[in-house]
């Protein structure tokens, strides 16, 4: 009963937050100066007629509240609208972008988590030692790097060794064998995923180290030591499992930003994902694309936080409503 109440209450909050996000998404971009019509109507000898035609076509001639209702109605029917720029359904465009973004970000994020946890545990375990200093300072060093700068440095450093852009060798006519294609995508993914990993792992290292230090001072760890358990077992079997609780929130937040948080990496490495799509859509004032992209971002963050809440609730009996 307690579980059901918790899930229902958290679920309700999540739904309300999504609705608020949908509303903010709609009005936020319309507050921005500039418009898609003034962008798209700039062709030689364009006339006010063209501007009017585009305004009507995009539905921008209607009052804002009416546009908002249409937008809500479309959303409830699963329709994100049609891109002003591409004249194609936003859901199709964003789905294709998401398919490109998710593998690269997943590889980068998982690598960051694994390295972050390992180096964090190592630092805490060897607190005050040379490995601790090296690990902590390296983590802070990469964490402090601007993503775009690190990406550019890697691009220059690996010029000629790794592909400079795109997500596969584009100049292939016909269909590549599956595994050859996977290998090709993998090589193209190395630099963007490495950039993401390097800029993200530092935060995991620092959180895990801090949490581990706290855990290693707990009574049960002392008891385990007193019982003569091997240090390795105390650390990995007992301390780490408890120390990783804060990581759940951090990972949920990071995963939530997968869809939009890699914008700069996608721009630098010409990775045709949702970050690059958002970047272009902002410049073009492509409202439907922006609304769709930010809606996915908002829902991802909210849903993953909801899941994190549930996992926390399951793992930590101290959590109450």
């Amino acid at each position: 009963m307690r579980s059901a109440d918790y899930v229902i209450k958290r679920g309700f909050f999540a739904l309300v937050t999504i609705f608020v996000a949908i509303t903010i998404n709609f009005f936020l971009f319309r507050i921005l100066p500039g418009s898609a019509v003034s962008d798209l109507s700039r062709v030689p000898h364009a006339s006010p007629k063209l501007q009017h035609a585009l305004t009507v076509e995009f539905g921008l001639d209607k009052p804002k509240w009416q546009q908002y209702l249409i937008y809500l109605k479309q959303l409830f029917h699963g329709n994100m609208g049609v891109s002003f720029t591409y004249q194609q359904p936003v859901s199709h465009l964003l789905l294709a972008d998401l398919k490109n973004t998710i593998p690269m970000v997943t590889v980068g994020t998982v690598a960051a988590i694994l390295i972050g946890v390992f180096t964090g545990v190592l630092s805490a375990w060897r607190r005050g030692s040379a490995p601790d200093h090296v690990s902590t300072h390296t983590a802070i060093f990469f964490y402090a790097f601007p993503t775009q700068w690190l990406g550019l440095m890697l691009l220059i450093l690996f010029a000629g060794t790794l592909p400079a852009g795109g997500m596969s060798n584009p100049f292939v006519l016909g269909t590549e064998p599956f595994w050859q294609h996977i290998g090709d995508v993998g090589i193209h993914m190395l630099l963007p995923a490495a950039t993401l990993m390097l800029t993200a792992y530092g935060s995991y290292t620092l959180v895990v180290r801090s949490s581990m230090l706290e855990t290693l001072g707990e009574d049960y760890v002392l008891t385990a030591r007193a019982k003569g358990l091997p240090t390795r077992r105390i650390v990995w079997r007992h301390a780490v499992r408890n120390a990783l609780l804060p990581m759940i929130t951090l990972i949920a937040l990071e995963l939530g930003f997968i869809v939009g948080g890699v914008l700069l990496i996608e721009v630098i490495f010409s990775w045709p994902g949702i970050g690059l799509a958002m970047y272009n859509a902002i410049g073009e004032r492509d409202y439907p694309m922006l609304q769709g992209g930010f809606l996915i971002l908002a829902i991802s963050v909210i849903v993953l936080n909801f899941i994190a809440d549930l996992v926390y609730f399951r793992l930590d009996p101290r959590i109450t409503l």
Binding site: S35, L40, V43, S47, E57, Y86, F171, I268
Partner: protein, 548 residues
Amino acid sequence: MSGRVPRLLLAAVAVSMVATACGSGGAGGGSVKEGGLFRLGSASSIDSLNPFVAFQQDAYSTFEQIYPMLVQYNAKLQFVGDFARSWQESPDGRTWTFHTQPNAKWSDGKPLTAADAAWTFTTILKFQNGPTANSAGTTAHMASATAPNATTLVVTYKQPVANVLSQLQQVPILPEHIWAKYATGNGKALTTFANPAPIVSGGPFKLVKYTPKQIVLFERNPNYYGPKPHINELGLQFFGTYDAEITALKSGQLDGIETVPPTSVGTLKNAGFVVRENPGNYFDDFIINSNPQQEASHRELLNPLLRQAFDYAIDRQAIVKTSLLGYGQPGSSIIPPATGHWYDPSIRPTPFSLTKAAQLLDQAGFKMGPNGVRIANGHPMSYTMIMPSDTTGGYGDRSFQIIQTDFKKIGVQLNPKNLDNSAAFDAILANHYRNFELSMWDWVPLIDPDFMLSVLTCGSWTVWNDTGYCSKSYDQLYQQQGAAMSPAKRQQLVYQLQRTVATVRPYLVLDYADLIEAHSKSWADLPTVGGLSWCSLSKIPFESVHKA
């Protein structure tokens, strides 16, 4: 270098209009190596493969490769045949008859005839206020287009139009048998049709693969009516940044790139690439609000002495040397020298003289204030300069700093306001051009001067006009040049318009930047048209290129 926002789209179609040094088609005779894939990099992209939807430059350059156009440009900025082999104009200038290629075929084997051209123009006319509005400018004043037989196209106009060929050069002729089913009802389907690959093509190449934001791949079209390209395939890969594009070229992942920033020229030359710097049909400008109804708080900007003073206070040589690293020329007229005979050579760059500028401001009665800023009409001469993202980050920032420093010396303070392109254009248009003071931007005009001159007409307000300038006498002259069927007479009128602009100074033309592109030495005979080989002006460059 990106075209300014109001010209972003222009850049799309516009680069297509820049025409110059082009080879004469086919690869220079003799034996050349046949075959191969030419891999080209672009820092732009294609927004759509549907000509009624697309606005981006690469989309228009793609249409040039896959679709017939009636005419194209040659090296001397003359029109030469493409799908039209010859043409005649009626004595009253209202009827144009084009004789098209006989026995031509689309890539799917269906006949390619004058009827396809007539259908394309008729469709644009039919839906010009809606689905085909983005192409309607190319059929301005057109009354009808008919095909009395398979090789004859007759286009009639409501009035004489001076730049018919320039207009028609921009229109890709579409296969009626593919597109006709979308041109029914309200024509809305004309814009929702994605025109996916493989595309039925009629140009030297057929488009066989398109992955949005990644690649477009072409194969030689065996049914092409013109000189067959030497290469088998052509690919265009899109990059998010110039750095990635240049890295890809240097590491052998590309054979050429379409635009090289001046800062990378030395690197590429040292690495052994062929780097070509061509005079560009392009200019950077300093905009002064020219709306007579602008806010009283800065109405002194209309004072001719102030405008002249500002002109003298701009060190164009320093801008070319520092901002363009020497790859360009000081600017003068809004019709660049790269347009050939349309440029009025009597309009010279205003010499840099702060002394003269200060004298002019004194003469206007703008006395120096206590803090080194002059006072005009009771307020300090401190102005906000709108800097669109097109001009910031490199060239624009450096140029602005040069201008700002010199203006400070004459008692005028400039305050930059960085905005993205769309927001910048809105800021200029705000309150019917009453609010903004100064701005900096750039233009990529067409080869034919009509469009660039039209920007300053009253009719262009809120569409292209970014100065607030509006003059009945200018508009009349503009109309006259548009209907002048004698080239000499038209040139005279075009010169007159340029001189008007140079005198009134809604724009202070800063420089003409070179267009720079690079390719590997493994390739030869890749001529440029208007400074570019990959463009929408001509099919000749990629018919001609071959392995060295």
